[in-house]
């Protein structure tokens, strides 16, 4: 009680014009005397009033992308898949102050809540990508390293020549993903629209790349961070060649061993030195060692890549030697050693980007049994991890979009994975692996209000994400939902499109399947746009494409309109920032 009163007094003193420094220089006795003497009573009373009245939500929380939102939502009459194994039919979820306030049947919504009719809708926990770059700053294209290219580019081509472990090659454990966020990243919006509310993000360049953070997929740089650090991330990529140490896989392994030994030694020696420094050489400061040592003493999960059996066994061995708590990322062949992984208690993050045939392979050369086996069996890994009772989660890998990711999840379901386990692998499991399961991963009272609301079962191909909540803020998916009416026209063919009364021109080459799904490209002044999603229903159509806006910026363009024979009219929306009207013709005629 005494302490909280003093704290309030400090606030009050600040309000009467004392600086923070002044306050911190006062001793407690002086402070008490001032309070007793009534010097600050007026101000104190004022501040207590201020404390008693809840500040408007908007003042506490203003994510750049968030619409103005009331403090309370209630989703009523919805099917609630809590993610803990229970399903509540005709349930209510009440969201307040960014948290899930209550969940269940017969829950009464607060009077001031924005009531959403959830009839026909299902509420799931927000989806969690267990390893991703989504939401991280992307370096300028053309520069080296980072991003999705070769994470080693910077090290292997331009970096300083390292002549041994002492040079700490490609080692940046002091980097923290939480300090590298880009709230305006378009990837965040794209994944959020697909139902993703969280990711474990970590730098990806180097051998020891840095610390990982669990982030929300909305908010400003501060608000996005749920917890950091939650992990240390390592890769096993050598620089390659003879240029810099380590140039080989065995060099990387030996380097990691030495780094962990050095971190341990630094601690032992440092403890001894600082307790009795006289006459001893002082330990050399090395910014790489403290985070590595912290990862051991605090038991951070350490994410290392491995897909084949030899690679996973290497990780297990390295973990035994260094004392790290490994988490394997990749896991294509984990089905072969599920028992070992379970026995070692090592979680696996399964890359959803299933291996595919090498498109550049010589067609005359028969694909190896090894490659065929991996392609056929990698998607069985989730089912086998589930059966073995392993700890595992999904991550997006290079799937690139929520739609493609969901298609890959369906592949795993076809190979025997249960839907319940698939949901866990995208919600509570990653939350558990990274120590945030008290905050995220299920629809339970008191957790952060990160939810996804769909019009059907999450993994069904036809299901559309209707609403996403992040930190209790409501986001509606902006793309026009695809109607179930079949197409009345065939849009296949080449269309010449004119935007804003001939100010811009584009050519769309379209291919339509029988059910009305559109694919193809749109080529305009900004180059070729790949169609990511498109449909025709009756005589209406919607085409989503990604276009370059220059400076490495990408924007999602949605063309929607109507077809009349060989003519189209409609509106194009550029990333929701501006629109252009368009008309188009198909000179060669179309149809089949």
């Amino acid at each position: 009680m005494y302490l909280s009163w003093s704290a309030a007094a400090v606030v009050a003193l600040l309000r009467v014009g004392l600086t923070k420094k002044d306050v911190s220089h006062m001793n407690r006795t002086l402070l008490q005397r001032m309070i007793a003497g009534g010097a600050v009573q007026g101000a104190l009373a004022l501040s207590l009033v201020a404390l008693a009245v809840p500040a408007p939500i908007a003042a506490q929380y203003m994510p750049s992308q968030a619409p103005n939102t009331p403090p309370f939502f209630a989703i009523e009459n919805a099917r609630i898949v809590t993610g803990t194994g229970t399903v509540i039919e005709n349930g209510v979820v009440v969201i307040g102050n960014g948290l899930i306030e209550s969940v269940g049947q017969g829950v009464t919504a607060p009077g001031d809540a924005w009531v959403i009719d959830g009839s026909g809708l299902t509420v799931y926990p927000g989806l969690f990508d267990a390893l991703t770059q989504t939401g991280l700053e992307q370096e300028e294209s053309g520069s080296s390293g980072g991003g999705l290219g070769n994470p080693f580019a910077r090290f292997s081509q331009e970096g300083p020549i390292s002549d041994g472990p002492e040079d700490r090659p490609a080692t940046t454990p002091w980097l923290d993903a939480a300090n590298m966020l880009d709230p305006d990243s378009e990837a965040l919006e794209a994944w959020r629209k697909g139902g993703f509310t969280n990711g474990m993000v970590a730098p990806d360049a180097g051998i020891v790349t840095g610390k990982g953070s669990v982030i929300n997929y909305a908010g400003n740089k501060q608000e996005m961070v749920v917890r950091t650090p939650v992990a240390l991330r390592l890769t096993m990529n050598p620089a390659g060649g003879f240029r810099a140490f380590p140039g080989s896989m065995m060099g990387v392994i030996s380097y990691i061993r030495q780094l962990y030994l050095d971190a341990g030694h630094q601690t032992t020696y440092g403890d001894s030195y600082y307790s009795d420094p006289r006459g001893q050489p002082r330990p050399m400061y090395d910014r790489s060692l403290a985070p590595v040592q912290a990862s051991i003493t605090e038991g951070w999960p350490t994410v290392l890549p491995a897909n084949d059996v030899a690679g996973m066994q290497r990780v297990l061995k390295l973990a035994r030697e260094t004392g790290m708590r490994p988490v394997i990322a990749g896991g294509y062949d984990a089905y072969k050693i599920t028992a070992d992984l379970v026995a070692a208690g090592v979680p696996v993050l399964v890359n959803l980007d299933w291996p595919e045939a090498n498109r550049n392979a010589d067609p005359e050369v028969e694909e190896s049994l090894e490659s065929l086996t991996r392609r056929a069996y990698a998607p069985t890994t989730p089912a086998q991890l589930e059966a073995a009772g392993a700890t595992w989660a999904f991550y997006s890998g290079s799937t690139g979009s929520p739609n493609r990711l969901m298609a890959k999840v369906r592949t795993a379901l076809e190979h025997g994975l249960s839907e319940e386990a698939a949901l866990r692998a995208l919600t509570i499991s990653p939350a558990q692996i990274f120590g945030v399961d008290q905050m995220l991963g299920s629809v339970e009272e008191g957790k952060i209000a990160n939810l996804v609301v769909t019009d059907g079962a999450l993994f069904d191909e036809e299901t559309v994400v209707k609403i996403v909540f992040v930190d209790g803020h409501k986001f509606e998916a902006s793309a026009v939902a695809r109607p179930s009416v079949p197409p009345a026209v065939d849009m296949t063919g080449e269309w010449l499109v004119s935007l804003n009364n001939d100010s811009q021109e584009a050519t769309a080459v379209l291919e339509m399947t029988e059910d009305g799904t559109l694919s193809g490209t749109i080529t305009g002044e900004r180059g070729e746009q790949q169609i990511t999603n498109g449909w025709v229903s009756d005589n209406e159509f919607s085409i989503t494409a990604r276009a370059s806006m220059g400076g490495g910026r990408q924007v999602e363009v949605i063309y929607s309109g109507t077809v009349d024979g060989d003519e189209i009219t409609g509106t194009a929306s550029f990333g929701g920032r501006f629109t252009m009207d368009f008309t188009g013709v198909r000179p060669t005629g179309g149809g089949r």
Binding site: I161, S248, M250, S254, L261, E366, R375, A376
Partner: protein
């Protein structure tokens, strides 16, 4: 999307686990056995192995088979010990840590690749054990691995348990060639043969000092100073201390007589021995000095002139070194040559006049001695590992063909099983393609192959 049928694809599941135990005893009867041991050649002999070990060898009439044994007719066939390749680079994901001039901190044992098909193909040539070496990019290279050709086992299952550790050194052109650091960037030291010796000497000066630090620490601990802080462990210097202490043996890539002498002198300066010179094409010039130092030699039969330092080679090298008292082996340094080391050894009978027993020893017991595993493999003697090759035709001839190769008593190659396996693999690939929904491609003829 088709539903998967896991059971139908059982073949695809690679067995991962510990080295399998031999389940049935095997008796090969009626064959000519070249033992590579004191027993020499046994005509109309028999060999029995069970539980992975050789349990009897002798005249066919003297060896009795247990009732559950598989009996193989060896008439007109030959049996030799499994071939040991003292210098190989198969089955490893990386070979050179060439960025530094001393890379003793790395080990090939960390990067064994059990999926390298060379393991199987060499077994088809009778090779059962290989010394998988670090490359020759640096004066002091990395640690090597000794593996058995247990095709199908995982990386740990391939390792020859109990084989003493070895490390690679390299002299001459390869280590003095500078790394490709790029324009304007410094070259890696050394750039000359003098520099190579300097790097080695400097490394052992450092290692000596490092050993002294550790000795001082141990002394303090033993003197009751429980608060003593251990020195920093240096993974580069640890192996060099092992060399100084005689527990890690040096296998040095070398060509010229002068550098061979130089390295022996540097080693003697620090009180250790060069265990085996590799390649050692000019070994015939310094065989006496090598014998006196106690160095072994592992060379090629007739592979030379691929670079200046390999010009002064002669095909009599192995024979001359053998006659001067050096333990000599013939190695492959290649996944191709590792498939016919029997023929490579046979060449020394033509060039140098070695006897059949001496020639066979070059690829069996001698490399076993060089790898210090001769108590386990390298000859056909009771109690040794059942690493055995059954040959069609005389093994030290170009007519020789492997019929069956056994490692630890298990078949790792058999010519009949191989034919069946090809059919099975083709079928399995077709099934996998069907499962993946890609079997249509087969009909278009865009895929080659043996279907």
């Amino acid at each position: 999307m088709r539903q998967f049928c896991l059971l139908a694809l059982g073949l695809a599941l690679t067995v991962v686990g510990k080295a399998a135990a031999q389940d049935t005893p095997v008796l090969i009867r009626g064959a000519t056995i070249l033992t590579a041991a004191d027993a020499g050649k046994i005509e109309n002999g028999a060999i029995l192995f069970e539980n992975g070990r050789i349990s009897a060898v002798g005249l066919a009439s003297d060896v009795q088979a247990p009732s559950n044994a598989t009996v193989i007719d060896g008439t007109d066939k030959f049996v030799t010990p499994g071939i040991i390749d003292a210098h190989s680079h198969i089955a490893a994901e990386s070979i050179n840590e060439g960025s530094v001039s001393v890379s003793s901190m790395v080990s090939v044992m960390d990067v064994i690749d059990p999926t390298d098909i060379a393991i199987y193909r060499e077994a088809a040539g009778g090779t059962t054990t290989s010394h998988v070496m670090h490359g020759s990019a640096n004066p002091i290279g990395g640690q090597n691995a000794v593996i058995k050709h247990r095709w199908g086992e995982d990386a740990g299952g391939l390792l020859f348990q109990g084989a003493p550790p070895t490390i690679k050194f390299a002299l001459g052109e390869n280590p003095k060639r500078s790394r490709s650091a790029g324009t304007g960037l410094p070259q890696r030291y050394p750039a000359s043969r003098m520099g190579v010796m300097d790097v080695i000497r400097q490394a052992f000066v450092e290692a000596t000092e490092y050993r002294r630090e550790w000795d001082a620490y141990e002394d303090r601990r033993e003197g009751g100073d429980q608060g003593a802080i251990p020195p920093r462990r240096d993974l580069k210097l640890d192996p060099l201390v092992d060399i100084l202490n005689g527990s890690l043996s040096v296998h040095a890539h070398s060509y010229r007589a002068d550098e061979i002498l130089q390295l022996m002198r540097v080693a003697e300066e620090f009180g250790f021995r060069i265990h085996t010179f590799q390649h050692v094409l000019e070994g015939y010039r310094v065989a006496d000095e090598m014998a006196e130092h106690g160095a072994h030699a592992s060379t090629f039969s007739d592979w030379w002139a691929y670079k200046v330092e390999a010009y002064e080679a002669i095909p009599h090298n192995a024979a001359i070194m053998t006659e001067r008292g050096v333990v000599v082996s013939i190695n492959s340094d290649s996944g191709e040559e590792g498939r016919h080391l029997n023929q490579e050894a046979a060449k020394t009978m033509k060039w140098g006049g070695l006897t059949e027993a001496q020639a066979l020893a070059l690829v069996t017991i001698n490399p076993a001695i060089q790898l210090m595993i001769d108590d386990r493999v390298g000859s056909i003697e009771v109690g040794k590992d059942a690493d055995v090759v059954l040959w069609e035709n005389y093994p030290l001839s170009s007519y020789a063909k492997v019929r069956t190769t056994y490692v630890d008593g298990n078949v790792v190659f058999d010519v009949d099983q191989d034919r069946e396996m090809r059919v099975r693999i083709a079928e399995e690939k077709a099934e996998l393609l069907e499962t993946l929904g890609e079997d249509e491609k087969e009909e278009t003829g865009t895929r080659g192959g043996n279907r």
